[in-house]
Symmetry: D2
Subunit: 242 residues, 4 copies
């Protein structure tokens, strides 16, 4: 297993180009910040893709060479073309990992894979967030203590319209009085999905080393193992017994 994990970081990349506030926080784009963070570690081969590239940067060739896809989107979910969503869904079912960040809860691909609306409460204010580790011992929590503290973040609150997570890794506490299931694991087909809540575009959350650590851990967790099969035996079959 010495081959690097091939990560594609997909970002809508609109806020950063249209808002000075956001551009100051993420001058290279959210994808750029995350690429730098993962790039510092060994064992990753990182590329990025954005909405306004041809095929949103997610050609079949790119996806075929992606082990884990990270997704950040917010204001333009509706502009993601359905055939690209189909393509990404197929790759996840075939074993590619997906890490959906923050407002990606409303992305077409996340809702497609979960089967629900993925609604929630939200508030842009000066909330303080504390992400409590629920699943101690889970690989996504490696290097994280009892909780992660974020001085300022957008609030997301329950009810979060998702199916029951297979593993609930984090639950957030917000100073405004809400809670949220902030780290959620799913399996779909041969692929693994991790939803991770923090990361509003106006706040430097993705510069936080602990948040970077969780994202890095989740990429390793979501990467396809050697057990993933190129194809499964399905369809019309002959009996094995007389």
């Amino acid at each position: 297993m010495t081959a690097p994990i091939r990560v594609t970081i997909w970002n809508e990349y609109r806020h950063e180009r249209h808002s000075e506030v956001v551009a100051k926080v993420y001058p290279e784009g959210i994808h750029g910040t995350l690429a730098n963070a993962l790039g510092k570690e060994e064992g990753y081969s990182v590329r990025t893709a954005t909405l306004d590239e041809p095929e949103h940067g997610l050609t079949q060739e790119v996806l075929d060479n992606t082990d884990v896809l990270i997704w950040w989107g917010h204001m333009a979910h509706g502009e993601v073309r359905d055939e690209i969503v189909d393509r990404v869904q197929k790759r996840v079912l075939a074993g590619m990992g997906l890490v959906a960040l923050h407002s990606a809860h409303y992305s077409k691909i996340f809702r497609r894979l979960l089967g629900t609306e993925c609604d929630l409460k939200w508030r842009e204010a000066d909330d303080h967030e504390r992400l409590w580790v629920i699943a101690h011992g889970h690989p996504i929590t490696e290097g994280i203590g009892d909780y992660i503290e974020l001085e300022h973040e957008e609030m997301y609150g329950e009810p979060f319209g998702i199916p029951e997570p297979e593993t609930l890794v984090f639950v957030s506490w917000f100073s405004g009085g809400e809670v949220f299931r902030s780290g959620c694991c799913y399996t779909r087909g041969q692929g693994r999905i991790f939803y991770f809540r923090p990361g509003h575009e106006t706040i430097p959350t993705y510069h936080n080393p602990e948040i970077q650590r969780v994202i890095s851990n989740s990429v390793r967790w979501a990467a396809p193992t050697a057990a993933v099969k190129k194809s499964l035996v399905i369809g019309n079959t002959q009996p094995l017994e007389k």
Copy 2:
């Protein structure tokens, strides 16, 4: 809870009209057979709907007055219009139960709600099927003993491309050597979903009293409880703490 459960039985209703073999087994259509079966019991108000009716018989008004939707489809999944699938999905998330029968594993609505392809093995031959109860004590198994025996059925075999069921109620044994997760429970939003495997169109499975019993049980299980809320508090919200 004396109000009857309002059941809508949806059937593609093509095989019965195009094949004499099927018409002999289900002269009133699969929906007719199931409607008669449920109609004999107290506590149900049953109607039917079919693919070739306007809006596939699933107008907003019909769905708004449906507690549990039973779905049978096979040869014409692709003809079900996407806006009707959207409508059904919304109703399930809002609390309507869905019982997906046999080849409905490949229906648009079932795949939409599960997020996967729902592939499987199959064989039309003279297989013998035995459905073992896995979840004894579960309401869907009321009145069913250790297993249900079906002398002839189409074979469905693993791998079945579904997310891990929340409760696995039945597993089938087939004489040809295969196994299958034949009874699977899910929750999506406020709605409950039950997949039940048996029921090939050329075989009188839906005349079998034990199969009818399971379907009847699953309708009761999937019916929305008094806990279902008309709307949830989501979206932009004010803090509860200062």
Copy 3:
């Protein structure tokens, strides 16, 4: 289903007899308060049992005639005799429901059924608690809005050393900065288990109508259905095929 649900409310009943503070809050004991609350509703037949009765009030005859057992214990978990714990476990596996309240997280019977230590953080102070509904539509949430507010409660915080709940119904927010999985559903054998967090002995939580409502709902949810079988076919068996 017109037969009433037979509820046995078990209480350690030591704090109320040894502390004036507690006795003022629960002059009839916690079990008495809960019995009064359930007794006001239709459909329950309620009795109580306490630690210092012979066999802790849980004779085989009592358990055989109990559909749902509610459990409150705190300072004397170790005094509960193992053979009584064995007896209760057997009844749960055979279909009796169990509702474990507050400090019952550390009771022998709860740990026995879950297989873990059920550790947690705690603090007796002046914390404010807000229990958010996570599983809207679940029968245990009937009549409960977006959340339940408790002005004063003991704090319980994550990590809570339990297996992943089958359904997570409530998550608590505490003013001191913690979160907790406050409503957790499990199935063990044919029996259903609900853990519900609130209810420190010095605080009038069990007089709160919403808390009473959740407990009442959970009793209905945990009650054995008509599907529960007196015995299962296990052990040495003959083949069904040649």
Copy 4:
């Protein structure tokens, strides 16, 4: 992660010493056969332990230096001392993996960790078994195709009295007409548990390379990750907020 996984293979080791039939199949004991199999692969440091050694070979020192414990027992479950079961349980909750083989379904440690009786059907005859992979892509299935074929095995049949597995990896088909959940994953505390069905003492199942492969895979899967914490922050705690 170059440190080897420290595996302790525990075997009751009675059948092999008391029955010539079994001794011929496993002349070095079941533990010896498994130790040889794992020993051929890189990355494991293997030791064995048996019932009749002092402390059943499971001293605190041995357990403290065990990453994954494999368990085979059958005729003498009752002789395993409760304080050793306590010790093993604590280590699993603290992160040690446990692989329970075949008749270990009835071992004290397995039942302790699951909370149920773990009953099942069985038959010693000339059954043929086929283990179907349910969870393709799961690390435990690496190197395994659509199914594993075992010409002769003891039959185990449903109902299997276990909590719903977190991941169902294998389901067995038996020629006598039964099915069984043969590969089941659980998490308890920080530890991972895998139950794997095959391996009757009179049959050379543990010499089968595919069965050895599954056991080897499951050891890797169950091994504690670097995320496992030596201790968790529990007990009485100060508030984080004013």
